[in-house]
Each structure stands twice: as C-alpha cells, then as structure tokens.
C-alpha cells in the first residue's frame, strides 16, 4: 500500500481517495431520498383532516434547541477532524465524543417532541400532513441514531489503533455524514418548522 504523505492521512492511499469519492456519491443519493420525503411533505402539508395544522402543532423552543444542538455538533466534529490532522488523538476523541453527546441530546429532544405530538392526539395515522411529517422527521432521526452507533464504534477503533490511514479515513467519512445530517436538518428547520410557524 502506497502512502502519500503530502496529503492528510485520510486521503493518503488510492483506496482512501476512492472511499471518500464513493461516500460523496452516496450523499448524492441521500439528497435524492430526502427530496422525495420533502416533496411528499409539501404536497400533503395542508391535508390536516381532523388533526392539528402545522401552526397548531409546532413550538419554537424545542426546535431551536434541536437546531443549536445539531449546529454545535457539526462544529465540534469539524474541530475533531482538524485535531486529527494535527495528529492529536486525545482532543480528536474528545471532540468526536462531544459530537455524539450533542447528537444524543438532539435525539432526546426529538423523541420528547414526538411524545408531545402524540399526547396532543397527533399520531402518524391522524392525517396526511402528520404521516408525511413523521416520515420526514423520523428518517432524519433514524440517520442520527445510526450515526451515534457508527461514530461510537469509530471512537473505539481510534482508541485501540490510533490514527492509521484506515481509521483516519473512517473518521473523515463519518464527519461528512454528520455534516450532511446537519444540512438536512437546516432544510427541515427552515421549510417545515419556520415555514409552518410563519
């Protein structure tokens, strides 16, 4: 295996470069996936049946907390990758750890929100609007949940093996995934919540 030392470790082999490119193509497919869910939501958002409408249901504070948590986690994982490039194992693990904690907190608020919605009689079966809403939010939340497991196992590998072309590559790809989830959330925040409250 040829290691190119002129680039960061995560790009240092031919295979690593290919994996990063491949992951970007996967993210392209994820954009297509979330677009279909947004399309469904925009189509059904006024079909509220007997249930609440978007402006009845949404509250700004939990959504703001979720947004700030996810934006901060995106920042800390960025710092994690930066620390990794400086070759600092401990700070990198700390930043990745904080990222995962913030991600878990985000999920906690989201679950709390879902429970509140259902408590108000807004279930996934109540109306077309709510089916589309829960599917969109749920798919994003599922991605975050998967990210927690993925990120957690990467942290274990870094702890055991340190920075190698493989572990650096995995960490960088995971950071791409995490930033992508933040981007999706920005669109949910803007075009589902704020637009609904507007």
């Amino acid at each position: 295996m040829k290691i190119d030392h002129s680039v960061p470790l995560e790009y240092s082999t031919e295979e690593n470069k290919m994996k990063i490119l491949g992951f970007w193509i996967f993210l392209g497919a994820e954009i297509a996936l979330f677009s279909t869910l947004f399309a469904v939501y925009f189509t059904l958002q006024t079909n509220t049946n007997v249930g609440p409408s978007a402006s009845d249901l949404f509250h700004l504070s939990p959504v703001m907390i979720e947004t700030i948590l996810l934006l901060s986690s995106s920042f800390t994982i960025g710092l994690g990758v930066h620390a990794m490039r400086l070759g600092l194992k401990k700070p990198m693990m700390t930043f990745f750890g904080i990222t995962l904690v913030l991600g878990a907190a985000f999920l906690g608020v989201e679950v709390y929100e879902f429970v509140t919605y259902v408590g108000e009689g807004a279930t996934i079966q109540t109306s077309g609007f709510l089916s589309a809403l829960f599917t969109l939010l749920g798919t994003h939340g599922l991605h975050v949940t998967f990210g927690l497991l993925w990120g957690g196992s990467i942290l274990l590998q870094i702890k055991k093996r340190g920075f190698t072309p493989e572990t650096a590559n995995k960490s960088f790809i995971f950071s791409l995934y995490w930033h992508f989830l933040d981007v999706v959330w920005i669109f949910i925040f803007s075009f589902v919540y704020l637009k609904g409250l507007m």
Binding site: V7, Y11, K17, I20, L21, W24, I25, L27, G28, A29, I31, A32, F34, S35, T36, F38, A39, V40, F42, T43, L60, M64, T67, I68, L71, S72, S74, F75, I77, G78, L79, V81, H82, A83, L86, L88, P91, S175, L176, H179, F180, D182, V183, I186, F187, F189, S190, F191, L194, K195, L197, M198
Partner: protein, 96 residues
C-alpha cells in the same frame, strides 16, 4: 489549546448561529409569505454552503470537480423531484 480552535471554524460556527437568528425573523415579524420564504431560501442555501465548503472540505479534495458535478446532479434530481411533484400534485397543471 488555541491551535485546536482555528479561527475559520469558530467564525463559521458563529455565522451559522447568526443565520439561524436571521431565519427566525420570519416567525417573529409579520412578513408576507413571499418575503418570508425568500429569507428562508437564502439563509438555508448560505447555511448549507457553509457546511459544504468550510466543514466538508470540498475544495481541498483532488477530485473536487467530480464532487461538484455529483452534488449539482443530486441537487438537480432533488429539485426536479420536489418541484415536479408540486407542479403535478399541488399547483394543478391540468385543472384551470
């Protein structure tokens, strides 16, 4: 300690919080639907680009041209999906 917090990242983060506040204007003030939506579209696009260029390091990738093509293609597919759906299902292109 200082080297762990590069200025670019910190400023980018503060800017992303600022963009969130700007987007909140649409809820706090009674704007027209068009004005509100314009603000949301602009802040969301800037916010997404910030992530893409600052945190996802698109530019430094040796294959950045391929990446841009891939992202643009995905966005094209996504926008056609969303607006094509709205066009047929919502704006009623057949019903006049």
């Amino acid at each position: 300690m200082k080297q762990l917090f590069p200025a670019q990242h910190v400023l980018g983060f503060l800017f992303s919080l600022l963009l969130t506040l700007v987007a909140l204007v649409t809820v706090w003030f009674d704007l027209s639907f068009a004005a509100g939506l314009t603000i949301l579209v602009v802040t969301a696009i800037v916010q997404a680009s910030l992530q893409l260029f600052l945190f996802m390091h698109v530019k430094e990738n040796a294959e950045s041209k391929t990446l841009y093509m891939n992202i643009l293609y995905a966005l094209f597919v996504g926008l056609v999906t969303i607006f094509g759906t709205l066009f047929t299902m919502h704006w009623g292109y057949m019903v006049k």
